[in-house]
């Protein structure tokens, strides 16, 4: 990806979490010191700050990567009012009423797979594959803070107003990011999440 970054494509989220754990273990021992950022995502890991691309590619191909252990993080409950502007579109995609769509979303159990996009934004897995929805054809220029959105099978909560292309199904008053706290993010990798319907 450009002159100084490398995008590693993997089979699935489990492979991402395993390779990411291995990369971080080796970085702590001094591997690839030029790297500035390592960003795990749904099926990729982005390495930014690459100076010797060939050496890094060769290393990654040669490693034997053990599967990463799944950690059970704390449970966080997020109150959600299911009144978002895209709830009707999501309900239509799921072929249910808006009320049933809200209940379906609130019934699932979620887990933070990885963070990204903006400070405090977590990608939550937990929706079944057949409930995957597409993003909006053009992103909104400003999504209100606390918006609960869907993209693919991921759920995310916008910590503050930002541009966004996810389908907004609800909103929450929960504080997702507080720089005065340690950690500043409410949702960190491994955290289990339940949405409590307060519509």
């Amino acid at each position: 990806m450009g002159r100084s970054a490398l995008l590693v494509e993997l089979g699935d989220l489990a492979d991402v979490l395993s390779l990411h754990a291995e990369i971080e273990r080796r970085r702590a021992l001094g591997w690839a010191p030029s790297l500035t950022d390592v960003i795990p995502a749904a099926r990729t890991i982005l390495l930014d700050g690459v100076t010797d691309r060939a050496a890094i590619e060769q290393d990654l191909r040669g490693w034997t990567v053990p599967p990463a252990a799944v950690r059970d993080g704390p449970v966080v409950e997020i109150p959600c009012s299911y009144t978002g502007p895209d709830l009707a579109a999501v309900a239509a995609a799921w072929r249910v009423s808006e009320r049933e769509a809200a209940l379906t979303h609130a019934r699932a159990e979620y887990r933070v797979a990885f963070c990204g996009f903006a400070p405090g934004f977590a990608y939550l897995t937990g929706l079944r594959e057949e409930l995957a929805v597409s993003r909006r054809p053009s992103p909104r220029t400003a999504v209100p803070p606390g918006s609960v959105g869907l993209a693919g099978t991921y759920t995310g909560v916008y910590p503050r107003s930002s541009p966004g292309g996810w389908q907004i199904i609800g909103s929450t008053g929960a504080c997702l990011w507080d720089p005065g706290k340690e950690p500043p993010a409410l949702l960190t990798p491994g955290t289990r999440v339940r949405f409590v319907d307060v519509t």
Partner: protein, 307 residues
Amino acid sequence: MAGSGLARSCLVTVERPGLLTTVQDAGRPGLAHLGVPRSGALDPAAHRLANRLVGNPETSPVLETTLDGVTLRFSGPAAVAVTGAVAPLRLDGRHVGWGVPVLVRPGQVLDLGRATSGVRCYLAVSGGFAPPGVLGSVATDLLSGLGPPPLAAGQTLPVGAASGYPAPVDLAPYGIPSGEVELPIHRGPRDSWLTSAGRSTLTTAAFTVATASNRIGLRLAGASVGQAARGELPSEGLVWGAIQVLPDGGLVIFLADHPTTGGYPVIAVVDPAGFSACAQAAPGTTVRFHTVHSDGRARDGPSRRGG
């Protein structure tokens, strides 16, 4: 001029904040996995040059102005330098040099006017601006809201102690693009999501910088880059310079305050050699792309403008 004269403490009062003036340094690299954008000066070359001119470390905090400059009153002596966008600079109403160190006496008012070429000026002061930082940086990040808010009239900015001497130069050449901007790009990683016509359009068409552009990214209007129907891409990491194609065929070039991950396909990445041009491209500017090798050499033949 003695260096000790600049070591005296100095406060800067904002008399006119301008459209959008922020403090910027080298930002917050290394926190992207927490969703924290890199942020920092949008035109890194101009940022470093301004600091060198006043004898600061290259990454010291500076002011980044947007289009219409800023007016500051100095309580103490200082050396200042303005780089980046070309704009008239006045000290107590008298014209002084752009792109060179300027000595300011206590009580003097420095007025940086409207940019005549480019968008963002970088104003460095000996010692550097020293507002409180967060996560290792004082940069204002417009996407996440980290860092101090943009400058407001009447506020004061502390200035650090000068650590070096201003550079004794009469002129620091710095290229400000005028007219059309040509950006060097590296294809991929998701250019297979484009139709072959779309791939060709990327390096033959002229695009226009849209008014919705900001420190997060440049929105480009004009030609539409056709996307092959390939379903959806899961969100993945982004870099400064990443060019996303939106479902409607529009393009976004991500800049310093970009989100750390995104879900629309990145079909090419602007080489760092093009970052200054991106930072200085005003709405309405015509933008063209040409492909380069990873070492920066041009790859497209002379026919690249043929379309």
